[in-house]
Structures are given as structure tokens and as C-alpha cells.
């Protein structure tokens, strides 16, 4: 589904991603972790064209992604993204947040879009919030709406950028639960997170990044018990200490 080869990305003179190679297959769940500023967000933002790489190849679902590519809008409809800050549309109700994409982008009828939307609201366990505005929801509920919004586009790949790090502790689990259920449906997922419990439960590949490079790619058993790199070990110790 996602094939990254030799990818490099610069912000001006700052080398944000260095020679990244990564392959994600259909149905695979990849969890990316690493210290702050290591380029995790930058990488997954490249995956749906919110950032552009400067060289190398990035092929998603058979479509080559590059700046100005025509197919980029089609691609984005296949690749959903959930942000740390939810980014719900505050002027629309929850239901409208979910239907606006299908209706305006996919040109699906309102009735049908609403049906799908209610379906996915059920899936994220908040069917009763359909007519509220985002500001009236808790953070956890908002994040679940954001997940449902992506799902409504019938995406085949979901990207998550620290979906729980802006949440209060009580709400983290509501969101993680939904994500675990989602993983069980066989969705392809790339998740940036520091929730190692979640990673253990769901991931089939762990990726560790540092300073714009991928330092380690390994299955979770190995990653957590016996990481090959020293930095990774240090990082895990720090995280798991808390």
C-alpha cells in the first residue's frame, strides 16, 4: 500500500527526513515512535500530501505522490488522517462534519451520507452526539468524531498523528479502544503514538525514528524486549518509566 524509497525532505536548509525507506502492506498496522522533533509527523504528513518530499519516491496505493501531482486529491480520499488537535470544523454539527466530505467531495446524496455517518458514529460509540457542535463535546468525543470523519470517506489507509496526546488521561482510553476496534476490522493503519500499551496490543511493526532517520524497524516482541539500537532502548526506558 505504502512504499517509501530513499525519501528526503528539507525545510529550507534543515534536513527533516533523511533517506527514509519503509513499506507498509495492506492491513498492516505500523506504529511510529521516537523523540520529539525526530520527524514522525513530517513523515506521515508526506503520506497524504500535507507536506511534499524533496526527493526519493513515495508510492501509495499505486499512485506516485509528488508535489503538484494530479491524483493527489483522489489519493487523499483513500488516505484518512487524524490529527493531534482533532481539527473538527467548529461551525458544523458532528453530523455535518461527517457528511460534508462525502457530499461535497464524493458527491454522495445527503440521505446516504447521513446514513453512513450515523453508522460510523455508532462504531465510535457516540451515536447520541450527532447534532451537537464540536465545542460541546469532550476531547475524547471530539477525537472519536475526527476518526469517524475519516472513516466516512471510506478510506483504505488511516494515518494517526499522536491522536491521544492532547487528551486528559481519562479520555485516552476511549479513543484507544476505538482504534483497537478499528484495527480489528483489518484497516491499514500508520500510527504515531507513545502509548506503548496500545502499540503492544495492535502493532505488527514498530518503527523508531530519530533526527529524521529511521533507526529501527522490528516486530513488537523484539522491539520491546530486545531493541537492536542503544538509543531506542534508552527511549523506551524513559517512556516506560512513567
Amino acid at each position: 500500500m505504502i512504499e517509501v524509497t530513499n525519501l528526503d525532505k528539507f525545510y529550507g536548509a534543515f534536513h527533516a527526513l533523511k533517506n527514509i525507506d519503509l513499506t507498509v502492506h495492506q492491513g498492516q498496522k505500523v506504529v511510529i515512535c521516537g523523540p520529539s522533533g525526530s520527524g514522525k509527523s513530517t513523515l506521515i504528513r508526506c503520506f497524504n500530501g500535507l507536506e511534499w518530499h524533496n526527493s526519493g519516491r513515495l508510492v501509495i496505493d499505486g499512485i506516485e505522490v509528488y508535489e503538484g501531482a494530479k491524483e493527489i486529491r483522489d489519493l487523499r480520499q483513500e488516505v484518512g488522517m487524524v490529527f493531534q488537535q482533532f481539527n473538527l470544523f467548529p461551525h458544523l454539527t458532528v453530523l455535518e462534519n461527517l457528511t460534508i466530505g462525502p457530499m461535497k467531495v464524493r458527491k454522495i446524496s445527503k440521505a446516504q451520507a447521513e446514513e453512513t455517518a450515523r453508522n460510523y458514529l455508532d462504531r465510535v460509540h457516540i451515536p447520541e452526539q450527532a447534532d451537537k457542535y464540536p465545542a460541546q463535546l469532550s476531547g475524547g468525543q471530539q477525537q472519536r468524531v475526527a476518526i469517524a470523519r475519516s472513516l466516512c470517506m471510506e478510506t483504505r489507509i488511516m494515518l494517526f498523528d499522536e491522536p491521544t496526546s492532547a487528551l486528559d488521561p481519562e479520555m485516552i482510553n476511549e479513543v484507544l479502544d476505538v482504534m483497537v476496534e478499528l484495527a480489528d476490522t483489518g484497516m491499514t493503519m500508520v500510527v504515531v503514538t507513545h502509548e506503548m500499551g496500545f502499540a503492544r496490543k495492535v502493532a505488527d511493526t514498530m518503527v523508531f525514528m530519530e533526527a529524521g532517520q529511521i533507526v529501527e524497524i522490528s516486530p513488537p516482541e523484539q522491539f520491546f524486549t530486545n531493541p537492536s539500537s542503544e538509543r531506542c532502548r534508552l527511549f523506551l526506558n524513559q517512556i516506560l518509566e512513567h
Binding site: L7, D8, F10, H15, S55, G56, E64, G68
Partner: protein, 280 residues
């Protein structure tokens, strides 16, 4: 990695965006298109005016900028008018700042009548057009207090802008945290001392950029005093037009002079704004 930054990537080169897009997005092309469009507009208006039977007489304009007479070099009406405009604006601005400070302090004083008067003044001034205010000052208050057109125009501008300035000052003063007031009080300072040594020195930084913007605004408003024949740039312009009937040439010249002056000031303002934004 190479130390040349961008030239460093090792991967294959990317497919390039379409040629037309790169072409239109590049800076020199953008500037060229921009120049062409502006040129077309300028030419269009030139030709349009000519088409309606107007004879452009730009060659008659320089005499109003400067003259070389037997006596020697001599400034024309337009530079003289510009100097008058600047003089008028500066005087009015100083007065407006003083009035504005008075109103802002009254408003903040907590005095019952004081703040009511300040608010009444503000609302009154803010809801009457400048032109009407000018007529009021000149035709109504002028004879009563016996001031001439120059005083009337300065007062009008000062009063009108004092309302705006007082809001700027008030915002600047309110931007200072209450802790500063309390600290000053707790070392025994009087309200006057607190303003003088603690509040005003700190709020100047908040006020400086909008106040400079207000100078630009005032220079623009000053053009309106031409309706009561006060000697300044627009008045001279209108007088020249009534003598020569070269409306278009003179109006464009005048506009250009204002544009240059206020642009210089505006650029200064944005520099100030940037400087203080970094400081914060």
C-alpha cells in the same frame, strides 16, 4: 550529507510539476505579469480619457513642482502645499495626542462624571463624519470662539483623531497587568507617579505602532480641510485645477505625493510593528 543543503539528497529526482505551473509560480514571471497588468490598466485609463476627448497636458504639471525664474530656483505650489500639510498634520497630531490622553485618563479615572463625559465625547465624535465635524467647527464654533480657519481645521483634526487616539492609549494602558498598579501602590506611589514612572513607560511600546499608523491616517484626513480653503496640498491642488482645468493630471500628481509620503510612513510603521512583535 553535503554541506550545500538542498543539493544533498541522494534519492532519484522527483517528477516535476507541470511546466505552466512552474512558469506562473516563479517570482520573475509573477513580477513580469504584474507589471504588464498594471501597465495595461494605466494605458487603458490613459487611452480611455483620451478617447472621451480629453487632451492630456502633463507637460504643464512640472511648473507646479518647481520653477526656474529670473530670481532663481523656486518651489512650486505642490511642494509648498506638502510642507503646509505636514505642518498642519504634526500640529494637529500633537494636540490630538494631548486631548486623547486626557480623554483616556478621564475614561480610566473611575470618576462618575469624568468617565461619562469621556464616553459621551467619544461617541459623539465617532458618529459624526469628519466633513460635517469640520463644517461644525468652522461655521458654528469658529465665530463663537473667534478662531480662524487654520485653528478650526487643526481643532477639527485634533478632536476627531483624539477620539481614535484615546482608544489606542486606553488599550495600551489596559495592556499593563494590574499587578504593576498594585506593586506601585504598595510602595506608596500616588496615581500620578504610577502613571508617570510605571504605567506610561511600559505602555508606550504597545502604543507606538498604532500611533504611527494614526499619523498616516491624520495626514490623509487633513486633505479634507481643503473645503474651508486652508492652505495645504489638496487645497492647492484644487486651486490649480480651478485655474487650469487639468483635473486628471493634477489629481494624479497630488495622489502620488500623498502616496509617497504615507507609504514611507507606513513602511516605518510595519518595521516598528515587526520590531516590537519580536521583542514580545
Amino acid at each position: 550529507m553535503s554541506d550545500l543543503g538542498i543539493s544533498g539528497p541522494k534519492g532519484q529526482p522527483l517528477p516535476k510539476p507541470p511546466v505552466y505551473k512552474r512558469f506562473f509560480d516563479s517570482v520573475p514571471v509573477s513580477i513580469a505579469i504584474y507589471t504588464i497588468v498594471v501597465g495595461l490598466i494605466a494605458y487603458g485609463s490613459y487611452a480611455g480619457a483620451q478617447g472621451m476627448g480629453y487632451n492630456w497636458q502633463w507637460y504643464r504639471v512640472p511648473q507646479f513642482l518647481y520653477r526656474n525664474t529670473e530670481i532663481g530656483f523656486e518651489w512650486g505650489e505642490i511642494p509648498i502645499g506638502l510642507v503646509a500639510t505636514i505642518k498642519l498634520s504634526v500640529t494637529a497630531f500633537l494636540l490630538a495626542t494631548f486631548l486623547g490622553l486626557l480623554v483616556a485618563l478621564l475614561r480610566l479615572s473611575g470618576l462618575v462624571v469624568g468617565s461619562a463625559v469621556a464616553i459621551g465625547y467619544l461617541e459623539l465624535i465617532r458618529n459624526i463624519p469628519l466633513l460635517v465635524l469640520l463644517y461644525l467647527f468652522y461655521y458654528v464654533l469658529g465665530p463663537i470662539f473667534g478662531f480662524d480657519r487654520y485653528t478650526a481645521s487643526i481643532l477639527t483634526l485634533a478632536v476627531f483623531h483624539s477620539a481614535l487616539i484615546s482608544e489606542i492609549l486606553r488599550a495600551g494602558i489596559n495592556a499593563i497587568p494590574t499587578g504593576q498598579w498594585e506593586a506601585a501602590k504598595s510602595i506608596g506611589m500616588s496615581p500620578y507617579q504610577t502613571y508617570r514612572y510605571i504605567i506610561l513607560p511600559q505602555s508606550v511600546r504597545f502604543m507606538l505602532p498604532p500611533m504611527t499608523g494614526e499619523v498616516v491616517h491624520l495626514i490623509k484626513s487633513s486633505a479634507i480641510v481643503s473645503v474651508i480653503a486652508v492652505a495645504e496640498l489638496t487645497t492647492f491642488g484644487r486651486n490649480i485645477i480651478s485655474d487650469t482645468y487639468m483635473s486628471f493630471e493634477i489629481w494624479f500628481t497630488i495622489a502620488l505625493v500623498y502616496l509617497v509620503v504615507t507609504l514611507i510612513l507606513s513602511i516605518g510603521v510595519s518595521h516598528l510593528e515587526k520590531k516590537y512583535a519580536v521583542d514580545q
